[in-house]
């Protein structure tokens, strides 16, 4: 993915509050432009909030999301996250036909 490594470094630095955030931010702005940087900041901050509300309310995976992730959750270690205890259905491996199908 174009600039994927750099965007991951930006997200890591922003979430952890690392001291290299100013320099990584400059790299991102040079690579994807000012609007790209704002988009990156908007996304990182949105998911900082989305993660917290999901964890605080103990929501379960939607059925489609459980199916979509059934064949890689364990491999990626996601089932060991504390929040996994909130979801009762393991799901059956399958792919949704479209974005909204994931959340059925």
């Amino acid at each position: 993915m174009t600039n994927g490594d750099l965007l991951v470094r930006y997200a890591e630095s922003a979430v952890r509050g690392d001291s290299d955030l100013p320099s990584v931010r400059k790299e991102v702005e040079l690579a994807v432009g000012t609007h790209g940087l704002i988009e990156a900041a908007a996304t990182v901050s949105a998911f900082e909030g989305l993660n917290r509300l999901a964890d605080a309310t103990g929501i379960q995976l939607d059925a489609g999301l459980a199916d979509e992730s059934a064949d890689f959750r364990t491999a990626l270690g996601l089932d060991s996250y504390s929040g996994a205890a909130s979801t009762t259905s393991q799901g059956s491996p399958g792919r949704a036909a479209d974005v909204m199908g994931i959340f059925r």
């Binding site: 993915m1 174009t2 600039n3 994927g4 965007l7 991951v8 930006y10 997200a11 890591e12 922003a14 979430v15 952890r16 509050g17 955030l21 100013p22 931010r25 400059k26 702005e29 000012t34 609007h35 790209g36 940087l37 704002i38 988009e39 990156a40 900041a41 908007a42 996304t43 990182v44 901050s45 949105a46 998911f47 900082e48 909030g49 989305l50 993660n51 917290r52 509300l53 999901a54 964890d55 605080a56 309310t57 103990g58 929501i59 995976l61 939607d62 999301l65 996601l78 996250y81 504390s82 929040g83 996994a84 205890a85 909130s86 979801t87 009762t88 479209d98 974005v99 909204m100 959340f103």
Partner: protein, 230 residues
């Protein structure tokens, strides 16, 4: 051009900046279960959590329960509310149902959800500013009024830790705060503004500053760092 001031950000994305203005003041208004002054105090408390020694020690411990003590707090909010604010701010991936039930037992389910939602909106806006090295906003002005304490119709047990809208037409994350609809409006607006943007959410190709795969890579990285299962 470098992003060194609020003015630059406003120039670059007026919609986002004006949206933040509106949402930020909305956080300070009287809620359904907490007064305006209490909600402003909660925002101050969430910022303080990032400097709290107990939160720091807990985040470094094998489990948060291994470290006892009192939070370094700056408000007169009830202790269970302060614990909710601090833990949600600093260690969200290790919240547990047992812990949530204890807080809910102390402050009520509705107050728990409203406080969590206020803190999440605040965290999004503060995080955005930190991401761009913009100054944090001053605390919002506290609105007048008394909480109406009206529980909405159409909510119940759908398998989460808290009651939610029983209408399953929305994704679980989209109705996470449905127990407090007046505050949920702020939450949904900030998520729409930052990420999903209405009908665009269903499109695999986005005409934005970043491509959809780039946006989802960022989203996945943040969620992995926060150890968010959902």
């Amino acid at each position: 051009m470098t992003l060194t001031s609020d003015a630059a950000a406003i120039e670059l994305n007026e919609t986002l900046a004006s949206g933040h203005d509106r949402l930020w003041q909305g956080l300070g208004e009287c809620g359904t279960w907490w007064s305006g002054a209490e909600r402003v105090a909660a925002i101050a408390e969430a910022r303080q959590a990032l400097r709290c020694e107990l939160c720091k020690a807990r985040s470094e411990a094998l489990t948060p329960a291994m470290v006892a003590g009192d939070h370094d707090c700056v408000s007169a909010l009830p202790a269970p509310a302060i614990d909710l604010i601090h833990r949600l701010t600093t260690d969200p991936g290790r919240l547990s149902n047992d812990w949530a039930l204890r807080v809910i037992d102390a402050i009520t389910e509705e107050a728990y959800v409203e406080l969590a939602t206020v803190i999440c909106v605040q965290y999004v806006i503060d995080s955005f500013n930190r991401c761009l090295d913009l100054p944090l906003r001053d605390l919002p002005l506290a609105g007048d009024g008394s909480p109406s304490q009206v529980r909405p119709d159409g909510v119940g047990d759908v398998g989460a830790w808290v009651s939610q809208a029983v209408d399953k037409s929305l994704a679980n994350v989209s109705r996470a705060a449905s127990l407090v609809p007046d505050t949920e409006i702020l939450w949904r607006e900030v998520v729409q503004m930052h990420y999903s943007r209405g009908a665009q959410f269903a499109d695999l190709v986005w005409d934005r500053g970043l491509s959809r795969p780039q946006v989802e890579l960022l989203a996945s990285t943040v969620s992995a760092l926060n150890e968010c299962f959902y």
